[in-house]
């Protein structure tokens, strides 16, 4: 459960896309996730296993199905490690400013 595993998991665009899909709609089955991606079921499964190994997603069983939830706690741990306590508000303000300005243009 190391930060290395988190960074490795986040290094792949397909896995980031999977996290985006769960961020948009939390709690999806493998089938639902596959329908959004141009990848084989096997490939998606492999990415999900890696994401779960890095603790970036949590899963729960519902009958025969597995439901996937995004788990941002390890990313929060990383933010806490480097961004720290008091800077966070300022960093957030800068992020908000960037978002606002980019939306305008």
């Amino acid at each position: 459960m190391s930060m290395d595993a988190v960074f490795k998991a986040l290094a792949d665009p397909s896995r980031r896309r999977l996290l985006d899909l769960l961020h948009a709609k939390n709690g999806q089955t493998l089938g639902e996730l596959c329908s959004e991606l141009d990848m084989t079921r096997q490939a998606v499964t492999k990415h999900l296993v890696l994401l779960e190994g890095a603790n970036l997603i949590a899963t729960q069983k519902r009958g025969r199905e597995k439901i996937h939830y995004i788990n941002p706690v390890p990313i929060n741990d990383i933010a806490d490690r480097w961004i720290g306590k008091f800077e966070r508000h300022r960093v957030r303000a800068l992020a908000d400013l960037k978002k606002m300005l980019e939306k305008e243009s």
Binding site: M1, N26, G27, A58, P72, V73, I75, R88
Partner: protein
């Protein structure tokens, strides 16, 4: 149904993690300055209170099995639009994984697009990171109000 599931792995024992969950003096160190208050018996009231005595959330203990599982009903008390959604349900589960304790927090409510779930989901990752830091280093993350 609105729901999220958060998981963190902490280098501690299930017993210490349980104590951190249910002891008010402990909880307020990592839980955004609020304490969980209850006598921890099924059917007993449960609440989250600020340092100055204001009540943030209320509910009751639905299930308790130290040091493995705690389920509480949970209703917000200070934001009318969240209070009107009624009771949600928070489940804390602790499991041993090697030398680590795995904490799973599930928070759910029987309605789509819940504002309560959206509101608490912003707080949980920070609370769990702070809890992890507290148990592993003895110090919670500072800067919380």
């Amino acid at each position: 149904m609105s729901k999220f599931v958060y998981v963190t792995y902490i280098k501690t024992t299930p017993e210490k993690l349980w104590e951190a969950l249910v002891t008010p003096e402990f909880t307020k160190q990592y839980w955004l300055g609020v304490s969980q208050v209850s006598d921890w018996i099924v059917g007993s009231p449960w609440k989250l209170v600020f340092d100055d005595g204001r009540v943030a959330d209320t509910g009751e203990v639905l299930e308790i099995d130290p040091p493995r599982k705690l389920v509480v009903s949970w209703q917000n008390e200070f934001r009318p639009e969240l209070k009107e959604e009624g009771h949600s349900r928070a489940t804390f589960e602790i499991a041993s994984v090697g030398e680590l304790a795995m904490l799973t927090v599930t928070h759910e409510i029987d309605r789509e697009g819940s504002k309560l779930i959206e509101a608490v989901s912003g707080g949980w990752p920070a609370i769990l990171s702070s809890l992890k830091t507290l148990l592993e280093t003895g110090k919670a993350l500072e800067g919380w109000r």
